[in-house]
């Protein structure tokens, strides 16, 4: 019998793409579907998914949980847990469209949640840490239930199939968001479990990643010291946890985080100006075990922005582009040209050089 995702380590090749309208204007998920469809051959039908930001404006103050249930009993168990820890403001089955190319889907539910105030106070935890731990507990302890999206005013939609089919399955053309990311998967194994598709999310962070990192077990064994459990054994999962740890728990900026994950070579650092040299040296000395080596191209989604990051040797392709308020990131330029043929600027960021696109209201500006 084939093992399920998480019972073995599953590296995969992939396609990634993302778009953000820095003016905050919502766009439907259709563009992403069209873009990723161009890169069809970079996936093999064993996983696709999307993350949309700003898609739940009416419930933006609540944590939006998306859950997969393998069976009805799992739903009862998970909902009992949710009721003990959260006020459920609204819940429903996520609307999907039956497609011949998308099969074996689990039960898929959505909940808008607010932590129970008393419970939160008694936990002595920061609200987001409280939510993150609840997600972790459901995923580790509730058999057959899996939280695959847990941020505010954002949502992840994923499954087994080609990404364009998964997008249509979830009717993403009906959602409006200021930013989207998308992932088409080419795993070198065939788990066929929906939870194993990407993006991977924790709170409002979502990560899509193409590559196979060689530092995996060094990163995993380090990050697991801080309460994370790498249940899925994927690169994407460990990268998400590293970002969450450095940004949310340690208070590093995204640029600083990039200098930890895709640190410049010592020889490059030596040639930099004094301040940069000191800062980057310090970051490498503080967090050497979070250096990620081997090929990766990552798009990190978060509230108000996207960050693109390549490994420091740039062993995976990644292109950035701009057209007015819109900014694009993609494994291949063709995917961007498909939805925006006439671009103001197209460039390939260097290895280890983070590219950050943020909403103007967050201080974002043209690159």
């Amino acid at each position: 019998m084939l093992m399920r995702e998480g019972q073995f380590r599953n590296p995969s090749g992939c396609a990634v793409t993302g778009v953000i309208d820095r003016s905050g204007k919502p766009m439907s998920g259709e563009g992403m579907i069209e873009a990723i469809a161009v890169m069809h051959d970079r996936s093999n039908g064993l996983g696709g998914g999307f993350a949309g930001y700003g898609i739940y404006p009416h419930y933006k103050d609540y944590y939006a949980f998306h859950l997969f249930y393998d069976k009805k009993e799992a739903q009862a168990d998970a909902e009992a847990f949710l009721c003990r820890h959260f006020e459920i403001v609204y819940s429903s089955e996520i609307q999907t469209r039956k497609l011949p190319s998308v099969t074996d889907e689990p039960l898929i539910f959505r909940y808008f949640l607010a932590p129970l105030p008393q419970k939160l106070r008694n936990s002595h935890l920061d609200e987001r840490e409280y939510v993150a731990r609840c997600v972790n507990r459901i995923n580790s302890e509730t058999d057959g239930a899996y939280v695959f999206s847990s941020g505010k005013n954002m949502g992840i939609f994923k499954g087994v199939g080609y990404p364009e089919d998964i997008g249509r399955f979830y009717r993403l053309e009906e959602y409006g968001g200021y930013a989207w990311t998308c992932h088409g998967r080419y795993p070198t194994n065939t788990p066929g479990w929906w939870g194993g598709a990407h993006p991977f999310g924790l709170l409002d962070f979502s990560v899509v990643h193409n590559g196979e990192i060689s530092s995996y077990d060094a990163n995993r064994r380090y990050i697991e010291m801080f309460g994370y459990q790498c249940n899925l054994q994927t690169d994407t999962e460990v990268i998400t946890y590293i970002v969450d740890y450095l940004v949310r728990k340690r208070g590093l900026t995204l640029e600083e985080t990039a200098h930890v994950i895709a640190a410049s070579f010592w020889s490059t650092i030596a040639e930099k100006g004094e301040t940069e040299r000191e800062q980057e040296t310090l970051l490498r000395r503080m967090f050497p075990s979070l250096l990620v080596t081997g090929p990766f191209s990552v798009i990190l989604g978060y509230e108000g922005g996207l960050m693109a990051l390549n490994d420091r040797l740039k062993l995976r392709s990644m292109v950035c582009a701009e057209k007015g308020d819109l900014a694009y990131i993609s494994s291949e330029e063709s995917a961007i040209r498909k939805i925006c043929p006439d671009l103001d600027r197209v460039w390939m960021p260097a290895g280890g050089e983070p590219v950050i696109f943020e909403l103007y209201e967050k201080g974002g500006r043209a690159q």
Binding site: S267, T293, G294
Partner: protein, 502 residues
């Protein structure tokens, strides 16, 4: 009655090649070779031979070799020749058997039961000839608070660290147990390589203060040579709690090795045996260790990392956990195959555990407790090649100590007779005529060659795994697979069996 013991090794001379130049005679401090003026021929007394190969290497006509004697008692799988001989020796002398260098017994070598991964197709190997490949590391605490200055820049809140250009250091060998020239070679090599050598418990000769930036000084139970200048002239201070070759006992430097110079450096009387006690008499518990760690930090104004070195013993993981919570910056663990200048044979051969198992357990335990960042881990005893270094780092070590390999580079042939003080290679001796045989100008270059070669090999192996920084190799146990190991061994090592997928 003293039982006659047939020599273990025999000197064989090819008479057709021997030119009776008497080099062998002059080179042998054990007086094995002699010249018969009447016949004009050389002869050898194998009973005195320690098999150091000095004569073999220096014989200009390659007329000499040493062979294992085929004399044998009646073959017995339980009572082998050596076991029987040791009984005879003790019945002769009534003494404790002494040995030198590392445990030679045929215990499993776990390094040789681990295999390293390489990239194929799904991610690319990296070519160290064409791409940067980093083997530089920092040793010390990495637990930090994030603080920013008024410009929002990160403040340096790190405790002092050691910067190593290669993840290999020379382990503790005292002046006294080894010669002045050997020390000079180690110090100069450490400086050129951008790494560190270690004084051992023998103090620091004033001539070597100039290599202070590359010197780790040891504070051991005998406190030999410890004073203000000693601590101030070091890059780091190592508290020696134990040694892999002789866990649970102190050191013993025979009086014959305590010359005037050694006596001054150690601050002990000349010609008298230097015996360091088994415990530090101010450390009977973990809280006492904490006091010594902080005493040394106070004395050096918190500018130098403090290393605590222990022998690999059964409870190493729990001990290391205690040390990590006691202010130490680095823990050095010394495996039971580690070398020594002198140790009771029974202790050397039967006490302690393999470094591979101790390292696996210590690293995992510190991670389980969330305190791996409190300390760096340095392992030694015995690390024999760059492959051992790669495996140790993948297992979780930050760096390795090498002692025996460094001495081999200087000419040592592992005759395991250091305690006799007559080292023909000028290493483990204080006899001026022997010491001068080791030329530090050549010796330090051989050490630099060795470590440079290993560094190249480490880079090649890392590149093969698709890893371009040694930081990403550290603790990366998925890069290792076991071969010929039991389930219990795999569990303790925390690795999978060869053939098991990721």
């Amino acid at each position: 009655m003293n039982m006659y013991l047939y020599p273990e090794y025999e000197v064989v001379r090819d008479e057709s090649r021997c030119i009776s130049c008497r080099v062998c005679e002059r080179q042998c401090a054990n007086l094995v070779h002699s010249f018969d003026a009447e016949t004009g021929k050389m002869s050898a007394d194998s009973a005195k031979c320690v098999n150091c190969h000095r004569c073999v290497c220096l014989c200009p006509s390659h007329a000499l070799k040493i062979v294992k004697s085929d004399d044998t008692y009646k073959v017995n799988a339980n009572w082998d020749n050596q076991t029987i001989n040791e009984v005879y020796k003790q019945a002769n002398s009534g003494g404790v058997l002494l040995s030198s260098m590392g445990n030679p017994k045929p215990y499993p070598v776990y390094w040789d039961k681990m295999l390293v991964n390489a990239s194929q197709v799904t991610n690319p190997p990296i070519d160290p000839l064409r791409e940067p490949m980093e083997t530089q590391i920092y040793l010390g605490k990495r637990s930090v608070t994030i603080e920013r200055d008024e410009r929002g820049k990160l403040k340096d809140t790190l405790a002092p660290q050691l910067k190593l250009r290669v993840p290999v250091m020379f382990s503790a060998m005292s002046y006294g147990s080894i010669s002045y020239n050997a020390h000079e070679a180690l110090a100069r090599a450490a400086e050129e390589l951008g790494t560190f050598y270690n004084t051992g418990e023998g103090g620091l000769h004033k001539d070597f203060y100039r290599y202070g930036k590359n010197t780790i000084v040891q504070v051991a139970s005998g406190r030999f040579g410890v004073f203000k200048d000693y601590l101030e002239n070091a890059a780091a201070i190592e508290i020696k709690m134990g040694q892999g070759a002789k866990p649970g006992i102190g050191g013993h430097l025979p009086g014959a090795k305590i010359t005037a110079d050694v006596s001054e450096t150690r601050m002990i009387p000349q010609g008298v045996d230097a015996i360091s006690p088994a415990p530090h008499h101010d450390i009977y518990s973990i809280e006492d260790l904490r006091q010594l760690v902080y005493s040394l930090k106070e004395a050096t104004e918190y500018k130098k990392p403090v290393i605590v070195k222990i022998a690999a013993v059964h409870n190493a993981a729990a001990i290391a956990s205690g040390i990590a919570r006691s202010g130490a910056d680095i823990i050095a663990i010394d495996g039971y195959r580690g070398g020594t200048g002198a140790a009771p044979t029974r202790i050397r051969d039967h006490v302690g555990i393999p470094i591979e198992l101790a390292l696996a357990q210590v690293d995992q335990r510190l991670r389980d407790e969330g305190i791996r960042d409190e300390v760096s881990l340095v392992v030694g005893g015995s690390v024999r090649s760059s492959a051992d270094v790669v495996k140790a780092i993948a297992m979780g070590a930050d760096a390795c100590y090498i002692g025996t390999a460094a001495l081999l580079a200087l000419g040592c042939h592992l005759c395991r007779s250091c305690h006799e003080g007559k080292c023909n290679w000028g290493i483990a001796t204080q006899r001026p005529d022997l010491v001068k045989r080791l030329n530090p100008d050549l010796g330090y270059k051989r050490l630099v060659n060795l470590v440079t070669a290993w560094d190249h090999e480490i880079r090649e192996m890392m590149g093969g795994m698709g890893i371009n920084s040694v930081e990403a190799l550290r603790g990366n146990r998925l890069m290792l697979r076991g071969i010929g190991l039991t389930d219990a061994e795999l569990r303790i090592l925390g690795i999978r069996y060869a053939g098991e997928s990721m």
